[in-house]
């Protein structure tokens, strides 16, 4: 298909903006909606970086697809954000905490929307603790075997989590450099603020942003995409059974 030069340039402009901030709004979206060629170009562009576009009202989001891709955010970059001594296990631990956080808002088969207005730090900590315990219930041999055969590193992550000093959780100020689970969660929060996943709506009360809700409800809950996501998860199960 032939495109006008003008459209290609404009589409690229919009794409750079999307890539830089994750969304475009207002007149950019209007332009996008009015020019079909720009739309199709943009869709191709994002397709090549393993992402999709989600149009929600006056905002157009760039959503990286679930899965692994060289175009997605890199561990190295995230490690730098967590702290000087962070290793990959920290990154995965953080990602896990984020999933637990979001899952707590979408925990029902009956309703589509969010089921709670906000989550507090302590509750979140409890939830992560419970999940980590479940993980710990797999026999060490089983975990270790998985670790060797499929390069899982859950034992490492579990060890890391357990090593974080849980005893000082009652201390008044945890935001500093105290090595504890809460202070780790605070780091995760900082990351989530930066990625615009949560907002603080009160002291210690954290809610999902409009962006996050849109992504869950428009991407995770879309029939085709959902199938793709589940497929992505199944593949590991299959590999394990082989």
């Amino acid at each position: 298909m032939n495109y006008e030069q003008q459209d290609i340039v404009k589409a690229f402009q919009l794409y750079t903006r999307l890539a830089a901030q994750g969304f475009i709004a207002e007149e950019d979206v209007e332009y996008y909606l009015m020019h079909e060629d720009v739309q199709s170009l943009l869709e191709q562009f994002v397709h090549y970086v393993d992402a999709i576009l989600v149009h929600a009202g006056e905002v157009l989001y760039l959503v990286p697809t679930a899965g692994l891709s060289p175009f997605h955010i890199k561990n190295e970059q995230v490690r730098r954000e967590i702290g000087a001594n962070a290793v990959n296990a920290d990154v995965y631990m953080m990602y896990f905490c984020i999933l637990v956080f979001i899952g707590e808002f979408y925990n029902s088969y009956q309703a589509i929307g969010i089921q709670r207005d906000f989550l507090t730090m302590n509750e979140w900590l409890d939830l992560v603790n419970i999940r980590m315990e479940t993980l710990g219930q797999h026999s060490p041999e089983e975990l270790l075997q998985c670790a060797q055969e499929l390069q899982y590193n859950w034992p490492g992550i579990l060890e890391k989590w357990n090593a974080l000093n849980d005893l000082k959780e009652s201390a008044a100020n945890q935001k500093g450099n105290t090595v504890s689970r809460l202070s780790f969660l605070h780091k995760v929060l900082q990351f989530m603020f930066k990625e615009n996943i949560v907002i603080e709506i009160g002291s210690g009360e954290y809610a999902l942003t409009e962006k996050t809700q849109t992504i869950v409800q428009r991407y995770f809950m879309e029939l085709d995409y959902n199938r793709g996501i589940l497929q992505f998860m199944y593949q590991y199960d299959e590999r394990k059974e082989e």
Partner: protein
């Protein structure tokens, strides 16, 4: 108290009474399973059903409704859910009836403190009353009493949709009667109603954009939008009429007040006119919002042609739980978080950056501080030592002036202090520091502080320094707020 808060307690007793009629109903919630009724019974909703039963009977002029009829009805309506026998329902009915209507014949009483009048009051009400008594068959029939009717009416949701229309009517009546201040209050309430409507529309808008909508839901939204739109147009018309009515009234008052000066009424009607205009404008903006919402819903419906939503998806169960129970590799965790993050951004550096214009630094100043840090530190230490000595001396003088007293104000001390002390900067630092750290006590073992030596002079007493309102012009150069210097025994 702020002026606008005066109205909070207005009609407190009346509001309390309205709430109090619900207490018997809510007390049903506390009922537990018993040996006689070993079922999970939602007593609260059965109680509400009972009231509705009597209400419908009254509505259709069906008299002669007693315990048996009620038990029959409840049996028919709820038996499938609860699974109890007809014989159990006699007991259920009895329990509910006894809660609503005391078997001893006492009325329901709720004591409360009326904050408006400032006295203890009691509200009395009854939900059910005896309709007739059939002596021959020993049957008693009941009907809803005043409070029971009120309760039923209060639960019906007809009001919110017409709240604005009703307010408009009310305002008109109040203006006709010349009650401008209550009309003003009504306008304020109407503003809240309009804002609530705006929030509702916004929430709908968010829902539409957040979800993939199916045909059904689109139909639902379209219908809601249609309703709201109709309602808004109707209300808008009414607003215009009301507005012109206010104009007329204003003109009338202007005319009348030429004869008899009624300044207050004129001001109030002017205020009514202004605020009504504001609310109208706010309301008018809603029309635009609804149009926007309509477009969004249409757009969402268009998108729904390309993608279908799934009926239910439990993120917690299907993603988080699966990760830990399977367990999936942490790589999968990463892949699942990616939708929420940015794309990778390559940072690159160009060789040409060497030729970019450079920011000029003010090198002279910065270099100096960087080159000789130890001297500055030495200076600082000297200064601290000096200050410590100074503070110690000042404290000595202060204790001397206080002459054994435990509390004294600064303004009373000044006369007794040596003049050169007042000329010195340290004297003022001393007070500032003390005020900042108050209450203070002699440091025990911790790090050093410039006040340590001075505080040691107070032995173990606790020292409090609090500010007083007036300012003291102590010398030409220095002004200090008056302070109160208090010594307290540690255990006293």
């Amino acid at each position: 108290m702020e002026e606008y808060l005066k109205d909070t307690t207005k009609g407190f007793g009346e509001r309390f009474r309205r709430l109090a009629v619900f207490t018997p109903l809510f007390s049903l919630k506390g009922k537990r399973k018993s040996a006689a009724l070993p079922f999970d019974i939602d007593w609260f909703s059965l109680g509400l059903l009972t009231l509705l039963f009597f209400f419908e009977s009254k509505l259709h002029r069906q008299g002669k409704k007693g315990r048996q009829e009620l038990a029959d009805y409840l049996y028919e309506a709820t038996q499938a859910q609860i699974g109890a026998q007809r014989s159990h329902y006699d007991l259920i009915t009895e329990t509910i009836m006894d809660t609503f209507r005391d078997p001893m014949g006492k009325r329901h009483n709720e004591a409360f403190f009326n904050w408006e009048t400032g006295v203890q009051e009691v509200v009395q009400f009854s939900l059910l009353k005896t309709d007739t008594f059939d002596q021959e068959n020993n049957r008693q029939y009941f009907t809803l009493d005043e409070a029971g009717l009120e309760l039923i009416f209060a639960t019906k949701e007809y009001f919110s949709e017409f709240r604005i229309s009703i307010a408009q009517l009310l305002i008109r009546k109040q203006l006709e009667k010349g009650e401008f201040s209550s009309a003003l209050h009504e306008i304020h309430e109407m503003r809240i109603a309009v804002q609530a409507l705006r929030d509702h529309i916004q929430r709908l808008g968010l829902e539409v954009t957040r979800n993939i909508i199916s045909d059904d839901t689109y139909g639902k939204y379209a219908k809601t939008i249609e309703n709201v739109y109709e309602r808004l147009t109707r209300e808008d018309e009414e607003f215009r009429e009301l507005y012109s009515f206010v104009k007329e009234t204003t003109a009338k008052i202007q005319f009348e007040s030429q004869k008899q000066v009624d300044e207050e009424a004129r001001l109030q009607i002017a205020q009514v006119s202004i605020e009504l205009g504001e609310v109208h404008q706010l309301h008018h903006g809603l029309l635009y919002n609804v149009m926007q919402l309509k477009n969004r819903a249409l757009e969402a419906a268009r998108q729904a042609l390309f993608s279908a939503g799934i009926q239910s998806f439990n993120f917690d169960q299907e993603i988080v739980s699966r990760i830990v129970s399977s367990p999936l590799p942490e790589e999968a965790v990463k892949g699942l978080v990616h939708p929420f993050t940015r794309l990778h951004q390559q940072t690159s550096w160009s060789l040409l950056a060497l030729l970019f214009p450079q920011r000029l630094q003010r090198s002279d100043q910065e270099e100096e501080t960087a080159a000789y840090p130890e001297i500055e530190e030495e200076e600082y230490r000297q200064h601290t030592l000096q200050q410590e000595e100074n503070f110690c001396r000042i404290m000595e003088e202060v204790i001397k002036v206080m002459d054994g007293k435990y509390s004294m104000e600064l303004k009373d001390m000044i006369a007794g202090l040596p003049g050169e002390l007042l000329q010195h900067r340290s004297f003022y630092d001393f007070w500032l520091l003390l005020h900042q750290r108050s209450p203070v006590v002699k440091g025990v073992g911790e790090g050093k502080h410039v006040l340590d030596k001075a505080l040691a002079l107070l032995e173990d007493d606790i020292l409090e320094v609090g500010e007083k309102p007036e300012f003291l012009q102590i010398t030409e150069q220095y002004t200090l707020q008056n302070m109160c210097f208090t010594r307290r025994r540690k255990n006293g």
